[in-house]
């Protein structure tokens, strides 16, 4: 998933559908600058599913909105970064070309099915709009596609439902409509931002099953954004955990959830009540997320971390593969060999650790 990042301006290999490199999205507000996304890199291969997990305010939604280029600039500013999608850097595309990508090659399922549908147009109109727009087909063909999509997402009587308005449907059904809309143009990537958070658990089960089945059928890649580790565990192959604007751990879902390396991931998993027998106290991550105007200078999790030690307070750990396990990447000094940790002697903040150093470590430990 997260290959060695190539030099700036060089497109990733063709099997990589989306590659985000060192993305920094800041918001300039009255009180200062909020680094909502601060150096995020990850990639998704074609047809792969990936989950971006984190608590509120960690920057997961801003990441997705930056990919879609849906942020208002200003107050937002994309400070640095490249977003390679299907061989092109989305951040360099003119708006007209971006419009061809958005809603066609990349589509989005939003959290709130009520507010993301237009109340004054019928369901069928809203689904067919994108098809007619992007595929240059007739209104009739667009409508037929809409009905077909509604049938695909399990809505009975799709011909009748296509003529109805959003208010005539329940929350679960509206979310199915959103999914139908997202898949109507055969996208290469679907970004689902908390698609089941507003739904009841039995409806959530329906929608997750639906997303999984349709993703497999259509072969689209999926970027699932959620706060719920259990939803990620059930739905995707790859996972990335975000904290305070940074990815702090990535790997396969099995690795991240069963063998978490970062103290934050570990703490998060141990706070889930279903992991804890009754009568035992729940694990608590002490304190709260850092104030975005006063981010800690070293590791951003350091003030809350039970394992924090010398370098953590001063130096920011790079996201890198621990020597013992190359499949995962983690941003924590605990998993950096002692020789490579910045020592106490260093007075000035260490320069970003050169990538070559890690390549060396990799070649040493690999059989």
């Amino acid at each position: 998933m997260t290959e060695r990042v190539l030099g700036p301006g060089v497109p990733p290999p063709p099997d990589v559908l989306l590659e985000v490199r060192d993305l920094r999205t800041y918001f300039h507000v009255m009180d200062g600058t909020v680094p909502a996304v601060d150096g995020v890199s990850f990639s998704i291969k074609r047809g792969e599913t990936m989950g971006l997990v984190g608590e509120s305010g960690c920057g997961k939604s801003v990441t997705s909105l930056t990919i879609m280029r849906l942020l208002d600039i200003p107050p937002a500013e994309i400070v640095t970064g490249e977003i390679w999608f299907d061989g092109r850097d989305l951040l360099r595309l003119p708006e007209a070309e971006m419009r061809e990508v958005r809603g066609n090659d990349i589509t989005m399922i939003f959290q709130e099915p009520m507010t993301s549908l237009n109340p004054v147009f019928t369901i069928g109109d809203q689904i067919s709009e994108a098809v007619v727009q992007h595929r240059h087909v007739s209104q009739k063909a667009g409508w037929d596609r809409a009905v077909e999509m509604l049938r695909l997402v399990g809505i009975p009587g799709p011909e009748r439902r296509a003529r109805q308005y959003p208010h005539e449907m329940s929350g679960g059904m509206r979310q199915r409509v959103m999914i139908a809309m997202a898949l109507a143009c055969d996208p290469k990537l679907v970004v689902a931002d908390e698609p089941t958070t507003a739904l009841d658990v039995t409806i959530q089960a329906q929608i997750l099953e639906l997303i999984k089945a349709l993703q497999q059928e259509s072969g689209a890649a999926l970027l699932l954004i959620t706060h719920d580790l259990a939803v990620v565990a059930e739905t995707v192959q790859q996972a990335a955990v975000m904290y305070a604007g940074k990815i702090i751990e990535t790997g396969t879902v099995e690795d991240v959830i069963l063998r978490p390396k970062h103290p934050y991931t570990e703490g998060l998993l141990r706070s889930i009540p279903s992991h804890v027998p009754r009568g035992q106290r729940l694990n608590v991550i002490k304190g709260t997320v850092p104030n975005p105007f006063r981010m800690p200078s070293g590791c951003r999790f350091e003030p809350r971390c039970p394992y924090a030690f010398e370098p953590c307070h001063e130096f920011e750990p790079p996201l890198a593969a621990p020597p013992a396990d190359q499949s995962q990447q983690v941003a924590c000094w605990l998993h950096v060999p002692e020789a490579l940790r910045p020592g106490r002697a260093a007075v000035a903040p260490a320069p970003p650790v050169p990538t070559e150093a890690f390549v060396q470590v990799e070649s040493v430990t690999r059989q």
Binding site: P156, A205, L208, E209, H227, P273, S274, R278, N283, T288
Partner: protein, 387 residues
């Protein structure tokens, strides 16, 4: 507030605190309808049957979890129990006194002993009031007019929930979500109640903060012997915190049992489906879920007979027995302390549930039984015609 607990003793187990079994709150056949007014004359055309005949006892020191999907009436039940809304019929007996017989003044006095913690830590605190007034308002209403005493009590309450005593002058916007929820809890605590309704008290919080608040609520029970009615839709939270669990569906209690029993041996098909729907944080268990079709029907026009029959997987397996759609199943006692409202509760087994889950199509229909009424071809694959 007696002396705040310095560090509450570790919990010794759920059962210990309700060993005496003394009943604190009795709910008898409680009904709450909201009238629907329609037509030009705004006539009464129907009712939303939010709570439709619920009976429950809460023992002193017990945590009763109430779980169900949105619209099942759990919040209405919580508010009606506190008499924040008058029930349409039925009784609430608190500590031996029937609330319906109390005068407004007596009601206010008894409410001192019953408090509520709300879901939304943003919406439930007045942004223009400092913490002192937010927490102190209830004290004023209860006639504690000496401001020195009041400030002391507010500061004690803040300390008990793990906030600093000098936060009294701050406003809600100066706090994080978790801290605000602590203020909401401090407000409930300040009056030294016996009984607290927690209405989705942790639902709006992030997991790491949620665990802090759950620990706090249990510590407080240990220290002060509170009785909680804990309303939530999150089943893992309910499992963790509750001694007993009540499952609601469309205004009725469909199952009531000890927490361990509910989660290991559910007897109502709805409870089984609800448990099966919880996503598991272990990625190795990608179980085939028992996915219910359709949505919860409208509480304004609940289905006849058993209210769950339109979505019931067991009914389908048993060949759609007739009494499911005609007879309202009684809330009967299957085993000691385990009550279920299902005609066929004995037939529920994990084997049946697994086979029902295996049979379900990958894409479950969004609609239920009423497909037949729609003059469009239904989506069922061709097969033998229904009998």
């Amino acid at each position: 507030m007696s002396a705040p607990p310095a560090s509450p003793a570790p919990r010794t187990g759920a059962a210990s605190s309700r060993s005496n079994g003394e009943v604190l709150l009795q709910i008898k056949d409680l009904v709450k309808y909201y009238p629907i007014m329609g037509g030009v004359l705004r006539r009464h055309v129907g009712d939303v049957k939010a709570v439709d005949g619920v009976s429950l006892d809460l023992a002193k020191g017990e945590v009763l979890g109430l779980v169900g999907e949105s619209g099942c009436g759990k919040t209405t039940l919580g508010r009606t129990v506190l008499y924040l809304q008058k029930p349409t019929s039925g009784q609430v007996v608190f500590d031996g006194r029937d609330m319906s017989t109390l005068s407004a003044r007596e009601l206010r006095r008894i409410r001192k002993r019953m408090q509520i913690i709300f879901q939304d830590p943003y919406g439930s605190l007045n942004p223009r009031m400092p913490v002192l007034d937010i927490i102190g308002e209830g004290l004023v209403a209860q006639g504690i007019s000496d401001s020195k005493v009041r400030i002391k009590k507010v500061e004690d309450a803040l300390e008990t929930v793990g906030l600093r005593r000098d936060y009294t002058r701050r406003y809600p916007h100066e706090f994080s979500g978790g801290q605000r929820q602590r203020i909401g809890i401090a407000r409930a605590l300040a009056l030294e109640p016996d009984f607290i309704v927690c209405d989705e008290a942790v639902s709006a919080l992030d997991v790491s903060i949620q665990s802090q608040i759950l620990n706090l609520l249990l510590d407080l029970r240990e220290a002060f012997g509170f009785t909680y009615l804990f309303i939530a839709h999150n089943l893992s939270v309910i499992e963790y915190i509750s001694d007993r669990v009540g499952v609601m569906y469309l205004g009725k209690l469909v199952e009531l049992a000890d927490s361990a029993e509910t989660f290991s041996n559910p007897r109502h098909p709805y409870t089984v489906a609800l448990l099966s729907a919880i996503p598991d944080p272990d990625p190795r268990i990608r179980k085939k879920r028992l996915v219910l079709k359709g949505d919860v029907p409208s509480p304004a026009a609940p289905p006849s007979g058993c209210r769950f029959h339109t979505r019931c997987w067991l009914r389908e397996q048993l060949g759609n027995p007739e009494n499911c759609s005609t007879e309202d199943p009684p809330f009967r006692e299957l085993a000691t302390g385990h009550r279920v409202a299902c005609h066929y509760a004995e037939q529920v087994s994990s084997e049946r549930a697994t086979s029902a889950a295996a049979k379900a199509p990958a894409v479950v229909s969004a609609d239920v039984g009423d497909v037949a009424e729609i003059p469009f071809p239904s989506l069922q694959p061709p097969g033998p015609p229904p009998v």
